[in-house]
Amino acid sequence: MTGSRRIAAAVVAVATVAVAGCGLGPGESEEGTASLRVTRDHGAELIDEATLSDPTESETVVRFLDRETDIETSYGGNFVDSIDGISSAVEGGRSLDWYYYVNGYWSPIGAGEATVHANDRIWWDYRDWTDSYRVPAVVGSYPEPFRSGLNGTRVPTELVCYPSGTDGGACDEVEASLTDAGADLTTTTPAQAEDGKDTLRVLVGDWDEVRADRAAQMLEGGPGESGVFAEPVRCDGGWALQALSADKTVQGTGTDAGWIATVQLAEDQPTWLVSATDADALDAAAAMLDEETLRDHYAVASFGAEPVPLPAPDPIPDLQKVTC
């Protein structure tokens, strides 16, 4: 075989490998409606929203976004620099950028590679990432990820009920909400609970009990470790929750606080925390597990009154501040 023939054969071989498995046109569509929300400042302001019926096989997050908004991209469309004129920036020493979540999961791949599936909830948020670059999961797309999972594959859910959750009825309320959401649900106790490698876990109990879980413990490490802008702190022999703003300023501390937040240990599935400073506040936390209350929030807390988004606004309404 001559040199040129060898080259031609190699080119044909590479081309054959390249086109294997590819198809012409946009591909088949999947029945269902995907949604898109574009917000800024951790979901505080809604910029745009849209829906997409029956997405095709070739529908990607960036294509969906491109169709609905005015964007500028780099890396061939994998990195979104600007949406509707709002660009990556450094303002007053704080770094701001666009992040996207699919069904509440932070996506580690470029938006040009992430495929849109039926019923996916895609959320783009322009936020300050100076103090928490990685927020691996958020609650704002509820009932996702319990209903559809990720990449079109449903993920089983394990509801872990601690004694304080079972006694007060908070666990029943969470179970009902997750069942309504369409979760593939198993209810269990902490002793029987599996690890979170392939299972979405929802831990329900007061903080004294829940903090025994390795993933839950990340919350005490602050936003840099957990991605949650709240931190449980010791207070008069019990627990209080410090609600933090996006620049980690303490906006308020409450001893009767309940919260819903997500943390993620290494490569595990996210762990949802429905917890409170004490058993009395746990019912209020469980009551927040609904689509309306959680929409567009990274996490939420309750200090005995209206739910408060986390990072916390300044001031937090009706908060009886305590000093620990």
Binding site: V17, A18, V19, A20, G21, C22, G23, L24, G25, P26, G27, T56, E57, S58, T60, V62, R63, D66, R67, T73, G76, G77, N78, G110, G112, E113
Partner: protein
């Protein structure tokens, strides 16, 4: 001695014009090639450049760089299609490539690549016309009052580089004529002889420059060139094209959006802009004398 660039004296107003006038005339065309994305405008600009080259008797040297340009343009299209994952009209999906991963080929990425390629070709054409029609020595003379040493260096390079190339060819010919029994003269040996020859020549050039007083550092005199009859028309044409560019910018004409869907690029104001570019550029060639010359050229 052979010129370093494609230039040779040519008929017509552009061939005889001063470099500054040629810049006023061709500059707006270069600006169009970089600033507008509508295929209609880019094609019009490219055809205008080809027309100017033909009317100036420089069609062949103006088209010569396109050989390399077409290869570059095809590369740009292919790379854009592979790299850009934007665009709504998916032609081929799930194309798997090593390192890059899964690639979707979209019509919009193809169009964006095509526009980039067209832009490259048109810019190349405009600069090729400049190279073929504007005397580089006159450019260097025009630069001399402001940057004497740079002008001198560029002048020397424009002469010595082609001379070294000619020397190399002569050495290779001489080596091949020594007969089959002679030992082969390798590239290193020819390169050594070439460098030695170039150093000798450099010393001679330096001595000549010294004798002519270049070392005294006197201020070079400004060379005034006589006006050429077609120059006023070239200035008017250049200013007219510049005015068209500004008007198109103000009207938002001449652009095309490729993502997420291809839109625009052929609106009435864009087409009017595209149509007026060659008309403005034709102005210097519309005098009776020029028309007679062009008719004779066409008849040949």
């Amino acid at each position: 001695m052979r010129a370093a660039l494609a230039y040779s004296p040519r008929p017509g107003p552009l061939g005889g014009a001063r470099p500054s006038i040629a810049a006023v005339y061709l500059g707006p065309l270069a600006v169009i090639s970089f600033s507008f994305s509508s295929p209609a405008v880019l094609l019009s600009c490219g055809l205008t450049a080809i027309g100017i080259a033909w009317a100036s008797g420089a069609l062949r040297p103006a088209l010569a760089p396109l050989r390399y340009g077409v290869t570059l343009a095809i590369t740009v299209v292919v790379v854009n299609v592979i790299v850009s994952q934007r665009g709504d009209t998916v032609l081929v999906r799930g194309f798997e490539l090593p390192v890059i991963g899964q690639v979707d080929v979209t019509l919009e990425a193809l169009a964006e690549g095509g526009i980039l390629a067209l832009r490259i070709l048109v810019a190349l054409l405009v600069f090729a016309v400049w190279s073929a029609c504007v005397d580089p020595d006159r450019i260097l003379k025009a630069i001399r009052p402001f940057a004497a040493r740079s002008a001198l260096t560029a002048t020397l390079i424009s002469r010595l580089v082609p001379l070294a190339a000619a020397d190399s060819m002569r050495l290779q010919e001489a080596a091949s004529l020594r007969g089959p029994a002679a030992a082969e003269a390798g590239r290193a040996a020819i390169a050594r002889r070439l460098v030695a020859g170039a150093l000798e020549r450099s010393v001679e050039v330096a001595a000549t420059l010294e004798l002519r007083g270049f070392g005294l550092g006197g201020r070079p005199t400004r060379v005034r060139h006589a006006r050429v009859p077609g120059e006023p028309a070239m200035v008017i044409a250049g200013l007219l094209t510049a005015a068209l560019v500004i008007a198109a910018w103000a009207a938002g004409a001449g652009t095309i959006e490729t993502y997420p869907l291809i839109s625009g690029g052929f609106e009435p104001e864009t087409l009017a802009f595209a149509l007026l570019i060659p008309l403005a550029a034709a102005l210097p060639f519309l005098s009776p004398a020029q028309l007679r010359r062009l008719r004779a050229e066409a008849a040949r």
